[in-house]
Every structure is written in C-alpha cells, then in structure tokens.
C-alpha cells in the first residue's frame, strides 16, 4: 500500500500509463515526437491531450512511424531540446536503428516504454522481450515494479540521462502496470521541475556561434575510440544513478538503488527478477518466512548499466538462486538476466551459490503465488542437494 512520504505529496488513483504521462507533463520537455497508436500504450496519447489543452508548452510532433519518432526525438535533442517519446513492443523494434544512433551521438533522450511481447505470433500482452532486445543499444534501462516506481523513475531518468549523456528508457510491465489502476503519490509540479532543473547542454546544433558537425563517418582509425567512449559512459553512469537516487531520497523520501533487496541479507534461497513479478514474489517470501524458510528476493531496477559488483555482493551468501527472465534469448543457452547475473558472480569470485534460470510469463502468461512457491521449493531441493542444477534454461508456466 502506497502512503505519502513527501510532505507536499498527494495520493492519486492512476494507471501506470497515466502516472508516466503525468510525470511527462511535470517534466514538460521541449519536444515530444511520437506515433501514438498500438502497440504503444496511451502514454503519449494522454500527453498529446495535455499539449492540446495548453497544459504544457511542449512541441508535439506526430510522426508517421516509430522509426521517425526516435529520429525526430534524437534530432530535437541534438538541436538542444529536452526531448522525450514513448513506445512499446513492435514500436521499439522499429526504433532499433535509431536507438543506437541516439546512444552513439550521446543524446539524453528519455523514453517511457511499456514492456509488451513482440511478434510473431501477434500479442499485445506483457513481457520484456522488447527491451531485452534493445539491451545492447547503449540505452540506460530502468524497470519499475509498480506505478509509483514508474513515476519516480521517469523523474530521475531525466537527470540521469542528461548527466550521463546517455539516452534512458523507463519501463513498466504491459497491462499489469500500464493499464492497472493503483494509488501513487505525486509531487507538486514546481518541486518536480526544481528536482530535474533546466537542461543546459554543453554543445547543441542550434548554437550558431559555435557550429559543429555531428554524426560524421569514422572508419578504422576512430570508430572504436568512440564506441569505447559509449561503453565507458555506461560504466560511469552507475555513479550518476547512485547520486540521483540519493538526491531523490533526500528530496522526496523514496529510496532507489540498482537493486532492491527484500529479506535477502540472511536468506538461503533467493529469486532474482525484474518488474512487477517482484511484487508477487514479496508476498511469497513473507509466506515462506512465516514457515521458517529463509527466502529472499532481489529485484533488478537498473538493468543497463548492470552493476555486477553490487549484485555479486548482494548474492554472495545465498545457497540457491533462481533468476527469472520474462524474455527468452533463443540462444540455445540461457536468457539475458541470468547470463549477466552468472557472469557477475563468477567475475567477482562468487562460485558457491547454485544458479537456475527460469523463463516465464511470455506473451502475458500469468505467474502467480503458486508458481513462485514451487520455484522456491525447487531451490530448497537444490540447496540441500536433493535436486541437481539444470544445465539449461528451465521454463515456468509453459505446456511442453
């Protein structure tokens, strides 16, 4: 249950889409370019109404595709504007080419993204295949467990992106958060505006007194150096994310870190998961704790950059860990989150926890208390040696 933690906060009942649009209204970017049609959820459509009603001074550019949406957004950003957009699923897929360009040109575009399955087969429901497909594009990725986090993450993402000089996407799970109404605390417009501050880019293309070229060709002699800069910016952004999180806590009262630990410190069995499923898993952890089972949870909030050193510390003393992926990589081996968790543990010298990977929830397939209880039961058997660790990905909830 969400309660007010900020002295001037106000509780409102809103869907995930509505709170993300509300955050965009308060941020009031200079430019929003979007293609507000399915598969995008109604975030930018709600925002376009704010523009039409004169509630924001934002220039809204209705483009002809998501590829154009990202092109126009990053171009506005290069020109010197604070620019945002939103999309989902196939829309994000169509943006893929331009996602890489936004990152490569180091433009702090911020995008509201609703995690929905990708075609084929056609499906509009929630899973994380879309953003997992964009995990290597050089975008910061921040996932949300509920509407409150989606709202708070949007506000923080502006500052994170602009300080790190990297684009950032804030995501919610399709339908479970995006279309589900719940109570969230919103802060006054002026307080949000004060927190994010003004966007003052060091260089921008409309600065006619200091003209420059952006996006030129670079071959064998310099391309690699600039891609290294991008990768290094992602590594350096961990510091920015931590600082913005600390200031957000100081200002509005809610704490945000790369990961949220829930009853993890003395846990023997743990689930690692991204997004709304963490909410269900917390209920299961509580139930198991009542029975004396040392269950815990680690929720991944920031997936890019992936803070491997931190997660290795957090998981070092767990006996058996299940990493839950709401996306499959079809790689013949493990899914994206598991691969990163396993690499982080091994690279940091943590080899004692037994690891298992579950792919779940594709196309919006339900995952409930029973499924998660079964996973913890399996972890118990693995920890005690009754059950061997699978050498391949396991599936939760699919008829095989």
């Amino acid at each position: 249950m969400i309660k007010t933690v900020y002295s001037k906060g106000k509780l409102v009942a809103k869907t995930g889409n509505e709170v993300m649009a509300e955050a965009m209204r308060q941020i009031e970017p200079d430019v929003v370019a979007a293609y507000p049609i399915t598969p995008a959820t109604e975030i930018v459509q709600i925002f376009s109404q704010f523009v039409a009603d004169g509630k924001v001074k934002t220039e809204f550019v209705a483009v002809e595709s998501e590829h154009s949406a990202m092109s126009a957004t990053l171009a506005a950003c290069a020109a010197g504007a604070r620019a945002m957009t939103g999309t989902s699923s196939q829309g994000l897929c169509l943006m893929w080419e331009m996602l890489n360009i936004a990152a490569g040109l180091r433009l702090p575009v911020v995008m509201a993204e609703v995690n929905r399955a990708i075609s084929a087969p056609i499906n509009i429901h929630g899973d994380q295949s879309d953003t997992m497909g964009a995990r290597d594009t050089g975008w910061i990725q921040i996932y949300s467990e509920n509407s409150q986090e989606a709202y708070d993450n949007m506000i923080q993402a502006i500052r994170i992106a602009e300080q790190a000089k990297l684009p950032a996407m804030v995501t919610t799970d399709g339908f479970i958060i995006s279309h589900c109404m719940e109570v969230a605390e919103v802060y006054p417009d002026e307080d949000v505006k004060k927190f994010i501050g003004e966007y003052k880019p060091e260089r921008f293309l409309l600065d006619i007194k200091r003209p420059y070229t952006l996006g030129s060709i670079e071959l064998q002699d310099y391309y690699f150096e600039h891609r290294w800069q991008l990768a290094q910016a992602m590594r350096d952004s961990t510091k920015v994310i931590a600082e913005v999180g600390a200031d957000f806590k100081k200002t509005f009262g809610r704490e945000y870190d790369f990961f949220e630990k829930y009853k993890l410190d003395d846990a023997e069995l743990a689930i690692v998961v991204i997004g709304s499923t963490a909410g269900t898993a917390k209920v299961v952890v509580d139930q198991l704790r009542e029975k004396g089972i040392k269950a815990g949870l680690l929720k991944v909030r920031v997936f890019r950059p992936f803070n491997g050193e931190q997660i290795a510390k957090d998981l070092a003393n767990i006996k058996a860990i299940a990493v839950l992926d709401k996306a499959d990589s079809c790689s013949g081996t493990f899914a994206p989150l598991f691969t990163d968790v396993a690499s982080a543990l091994y690279a940091n010298g943590i080899t004692t926890p037994k690891l298992v990977n579950y792919v779940y929830g594709l196309g919006g397939r339900e995952i409930g208390i029973k499924d998660l209880t079964d996973i913890y039961a399996a972890l118990g058997e693995i920890a005690s040696g009754k059950r061997a660790v699978s050498k391949n990905v396991e599936y939760c909830g699919v008829r095989i």
């Binding site: 490569g104 040109l105 420059y212 070229t213 952006l214 670079e218 310099y222 150096e225």
Partner: protein, 103 residues
C-alpha cells in the same frame, strides 16, 4: 590526407560522440582524387561570382577588391573537379573550362 599528420588521438582525447568542429576541412587536402580540373582565365572573367555561388566545396577563391569582391582563382586543394563552375560560367564569357587532370 591531413597536411599536418598528427598522432592518433586516444578515446579520452578525442571529442565526445565524434563531434567535429566546423571548418576543419581547411586542414585537409581533399582534392587529390580529381580527374578533371577547372582552368580559370583571368582575362575573360567578369567577376559575376556565379561560380563562387554554385561551387559545392567553396573552392573558388575570392578576395575583396576596390570595386567589390573579385575571383582570384581555384583552390585546387579542395576542388573535386565536378565541373559545375565551368557549366554555370555564363556562355558568352567562358572564363572557366575543364581539362583532364595532369598528375
């Protein structure tokens, strides 16, 4: 080819995001692959500056004279030999003509 061949910059030295300051083409010889070159006839030229307007590479050299701006020649370090100047030079004047590049 850069006139002054500097050492390659490292990732920490090179500008962020491949940003290139305006006007750096001045530092490079970019006309070396030309197959034809424009010849400018000083005596025929009426200094209408049509060539200067049309040149896509700013390779027509001009300077401020007592009666206004005058053409002084072609900057062969940057001219690519596209022939637009010769094409646009007024028919009655023909102060610019193309010839095969001699190496």
């Amino acid at each position: 080819m850069k006139k002054d061949e500097n050492k390659k910059l490292s990732a920490s030295e090179v500008a962020s995001a491949g940003l290139v300051e305006a006007g750096t083409a001045q530092e490079f010889i970019t006309g070396s692959w030309r197959s034809e070159r424009p010849l400018w006839n000083k005596d025929k030229c009426i200094h209408c500056l049509t060539c200067w307007i049309y040149c896509p590479d700013s390779a027509i050299s001009v300077e401020q004279g007592p009666k206004g701006t005058i053409v002084t020649g072609v900057d062969y370090n940057h001219c690519k030999g596209c022939g637009i100047c010769a094409k646009e030079c007024p028919d009655k004047i023909k102060a610019l003509t193309m010839e095969t590049e001699r190496k």
